[in-house]
């Protein structure tokens, strides 16, 4: 187990380094931060001097090396635009993104699983047909369009929910949460639905397919033969056997949601990491972009590792395999 964890940590380091290197090569092509940092009145000399001081004249590899040397000492530098410590800047935004992602994930499970079951067992009912249709809408509707639609209905027309921001937050010292205030919870509703819609349909379709499969298996027939009520057969026997892939996919999707929450965050002015990243791109804020990419790649690797480790814990067959054959690649 220890060897497995060490190997995964080494893996993670390689992934993060690669991401950073690619990032620095790409930064050459996304523009010149100096043009954004100085205003119209700055002279050419001032522009050149700033470029030199920021080390932008050195090669991508040199910049990358400097970044890594500083980063391993825990120093990501300060933002070109805000002059704030980049690590603090990103960590301040992390709670906002994570809360949004977790609520969206809970929503997707709480709605996706029952919808999946319903569409599987009442395949031809109006309700199932309707849900199936909605799931196609959910998969094909881009999240910014959905977000604007929700704002227009619930914020402008009905005036029920706020259309932007995070509401009041409570500072717990290490974590700023919006989950403890009414306005914070209200502010979460529209963005989390926007972010969750795709997930809901994904879970629903997954559960439906798994259920249809499971319902055909022998042990379900036996269960029915024993005279168990439908409810017990569907939820106790069939559904339980469907959940493993759902948990796996959900776990992996959390990483995706964190990385791709940026559209939802932009539409709702949700002060999370995605919004920070989008602005960093606009202003060519290289320290923020580099640190963000490294941190997000770390989150991806960490989630993958946790999921893999859970497999090992749950499934004894993998355990023998990993000690014998060196695990399986991510």
């Amino acid at each position: 187990m220890l060897a497995f964890i060490l190997r995964r940590i080494a893996n993670a380091a390689v992934v993060m380094l690669t991401v950073a290197l690619i990032a620095f090569i790409i930064f050459r092509f996304i523009g010149d931060p100096v043009e954004m940092m100085l205003n119209e009145q700055a002279t050419q000399m001032q522009r050149d001097a700033l470029r030199e001081r920021l080390g932008l004249n050195s090669s991508a590899v040199m910049q990358f090396a400097k970044f890594v040397t500083n980063a391993v000492q825990g120093d990501f530098g300060i933002s070109y635009r805000n002059q704030q410590d980049v690590f603090t800047l990103i960590m301040e935004r992390f709670p906002a993104t994570l809360e949004l992602v977790l609520v969206a994930t809970i929503l997707s499970l709480a709605l996706g699983i029952p919808f999946g079951v319903i569409t599987a067992i009442h395949r031809n009912s109006m309700l199932a047909q309707g849900l199936q249709f909605l799931s196609i809408v959910g998969i094909s509707l881009p999240s910014f369009a959905l977000g604007i639609l929700l704002i227009l209905v619930f914020s402008v027309q009905l005036g029920l929910l706020p259309g932007f921001g995070r509401g009041e937050v409570v500072d717990l010292g290490f974590w700023e949460t919006g989950l403890l205030t009414t306005s914070g919870l209200k502010a979460l509703i529209l963005p989390s639905i926007t972010l969750a819609l795709f997930q809901i349909t994904l879970v629903m379709r997954l559960v439906r397919a798994e259920m249809l499969e499971t319902l055909r298996t022998d042990f379900i027939k036996f269960a029915r033969a024993r005279g168990l009520p439908n409810r017990i057969v569907h939820f106790r026997h069939a559904l339980r056997n469907c959940l493993m892939p759902v948990i796996t996919v959900t776990g992996m999707q959390i990483g995706n949601l964190i990385a791709f929450a940026l559209i939802t965050e932009t539409v709702f002015q949700w002060p999370g990491m995605g919004l920070l990243f989008i602005q960093a791109v606009t202003f060519v804020d290289i320290p923020v972009m580099a640190a963000y990419l490294v941190i997000v790649s770390f989150i991806f690797v960490a989630l993958n590792t946790v999921v893999d480790m859970l497999y090992v814990v749950i499934d004894p067959r993998l355990r023998t395999q990993s000690t014998a054959g060196g695990g399986h690649g991510a």
Binding site: F29, I30, G31, D32, E35, M36, M37, L38, N39, E40, Q41, A42, T43, Q44, M45, Q46, A49, L50, R53, L54, G55, N70, G77, I78, S79, Y80, R81, N82, Q83, Q84, D85, L89, E92, R93, F144, I148, I151, L152, S155, V156, G159, P162, G163, F164, G165, R166, T266, V267, F268, Q269, P271, L275, L276, I278, Q279, V281, T282, F283, V284, P287
Partner: protein, 527 residues
């Protein structure tokens, strides 16, 4: 006549909708902006918008009044004692928000800070050499040379409290290359009408009224809650639902919706910024079927491109009729402008074709048109419509469009044949800005934006002379003459002053909207 005209235009730019005085009560202005401020340190990032916001907290020695004329602020009066030395008498009894007195030491510390080598705003005070304290409320500013625009520059040099800077180890500006955060990035202590109460980047920045402000407040606000809402449709929705009461950026495509919404008032005007096309004057075009020479160096070709632009159509289609078409390179309020500059050469496609034929291009030619999507109002639409109009006279402009951060390096390197450029002449609000930064040949520190190698010896000479001429009666005609040379030679293709659209809820009764597009909420009143 000249100055009368300017004054009228400036006055017209001010929109004061109702002057009914209201009783003083707790008034919170909810400001939804298109972008967040970069920092609360005014010397941190070259952003006009951030400076405009921070002007609510910090002030300069002088400020612009409602006609964009210089007016005393922290300095009560000033005099030129020698051509290169200005003496400022400072206002007495002014206190910083932390209770400290405002004195000459504060002015000197602030000037040192902004003109330090690592300050991104050093260029805003180009002539500064040294400052000396005469007594607690008198300070001498020494300049590199006789320089007429010192006051204009000083409107944007905000004054810090020296003791506060020293106590917090922030006497120097934050140096991004060093990677260490500064105290002034998170804290503010000015003399202005409002105090910083709290700031959460990208979420909310709150200002509260400063009861000890030295000036008599014209506003009746007690609190400003500033929220950036980057997404335009969300911002529009927030205004319609009443979640915000003011925005300095009402999206043009949503104006009709906003105008038809009850309780929302759209406030339209045009900016100082003049948008124009800049041309490649080098030996060859960057991307063209004419390989051996540069057709744009022929004045007939430039005139053909000019007269091929149907500006009325562009204004109607690309800018929803909201821009102000112009033949001048600067807005009317800017010193150096004369009304005859405003006259455009008329749109005439036949004449344009004939000019091209005379120049030896009866079948036209192709070139590259480099535009960005986010530098100027509806820039992409402007470029598309220009390309379509030029196609009709036979010039095929290959449009290369992208975000500003990517397009600007191409412009700087001169990788364009035609490109968009807009110049507001801020912060100095004087034609010297465009003359020295854009039109001047690339020599010394001048001509930073001379991307296409244009230039004219006489323009350079007039610009350099106007830089050291203290008498406005002589200086302004020099600048007008330089602008006229560029105009007669068709060095640039001027288009328009771009529109600005603010919007307020009905309870925001008075808002002063000047053509520099800066909100000044110390003049805002609410019902």
């Amino acid at each position: 006549m000249n100055s009368l005209n300017r004054m009228l235009t400036a006055t017209a730019a001010i929109l004061i909708l109702s002057t009914a005085a209201t009783s003083v009560s707790a008034q919170t202005l909810k400001w939804g902006a298109a972008r967040d401020i970069d920092s609360v340190d005014p010397y941190a990032f070259g952003s006009t918008f951030t400076l405009a916001f921070l002007n609510h907290v910090y002030e300069g020695l002088v400020r612009y009044d409602e006609n964009l004329k210089i007016q005393p602020a922290l300095a009560e009066s000033w005099a030129i004692v020698q051509p290169t030395v200005w003496r400022f008498k400072l206002r007495k009894g002014v206190k910083f928000q932390n209770g400290n007195d405002f004195t000459a030491d504060d002015v000197i510390a602030s000037l040192k800070r902004i003109s330090h080598d690592t300050s991104p705003l050093k260029g805003n005070l180009p002539a500064y050499k040294n400052a000396t304290k005469i007594d607690d409320h008198t300070v001498d500013l020494e300049l590199n040379s006789a320089y007429p625009l010192l006051l204009n520059d000083l409107t944007n040099v905000f004054i810090f409290d020296k003791e506060w800077l020293v106590a917090n180890n922030s006497e120097l500006p934050t140096d991004v290359a060093k990677g260490v955060e500064g105290y002034a990035t998170h804290n503010a202590n000015g003399t202005g009408p409002f105090k910083l109460e709290s700031r959460r980047a990208d979420a909310k920045t709150v200002l509260v009224v400063n009861p000890n402000w030295w000036d008599k407040p014209k506003h009746n606000l007690t609190r400003i809650e500033f929220t950036p809402i980057a997404s335009a449709p969300t911002r529009v929705a927030a205004l319609i639902s009443g979640d915000i009461g003011f925005t300095e950026s009402a999206p043009l495509q949503d104006l009709q919706r906003l105008q038809s919404a009850p309780d929302v008032k759209v406030r339209l005007s045009t900016e100082l910024r003049t948008v124009f096309f800049a041309l490649n004057f080098k030996d060859k075009l960057v991307e063209s079927d004419v390989k051996d020479k540069n057709p744009l160096r022929d004045k007939r070709v430039r005139q053909a491109l000019y007269q091929g632009l149907a500006m009325d159509q562009m204004q109607k289609r690309a800018l929803r009729g909201l821009s102000r078409n112009t033949g001048a390179m600067i807005a009317p309020v800017i010193p150096g402008y004369t009304p005859d500059m405003d006259e455009r050469l008329p749109f005439d496609a036949d004449k344009a074709k004939k000019l091209l034929a005379d120049a030896g291009y009866p079948n036209g030619f192709s070139l590259s048109l480099v535009c960005s999507t986010d530098s100027y109002v509806n820039e992409e639409e402007i470029c598309q419509s220009a390309a379509a109009m030029w196609a009709r006279i036979g010039v095929k402009a290959n449009l290369n469009s992208g975000p500003r951060s990517i397009q600007n390096p191409k412009r700087v390197k001169g990788e364009f044949d035609i490109t968009t450029l807009g110049w507001a002449n801020e912060p100095m609000i004087d034609a010297y800005s465009i003359l020295v930064q854009v039109m001047h040949s690339k020599t010394g520190s001048a001509g930073v934006f001379n991307w296409g190698n244009w230039g004219n010896a006489r323009i350079d000479e007039l610009t350099d002379r106007s830089a050291n001429e203290l008498d406005p009666e002589k200086r302004i005609p020099m600048m007008s003459e330089a602008l006229k040379i560029a105009r007669d030679d068709i060095m640039f293709l001027p288009l328009h002053q771009q529109p600005m659209a603010w919007a307020t809820r009905a309870d925001v009764s008075d808002v002063v909207q000047l053509s520099d597009n800066k909100p000044r909420h110390w003049l805002t009143r609410m019902k």
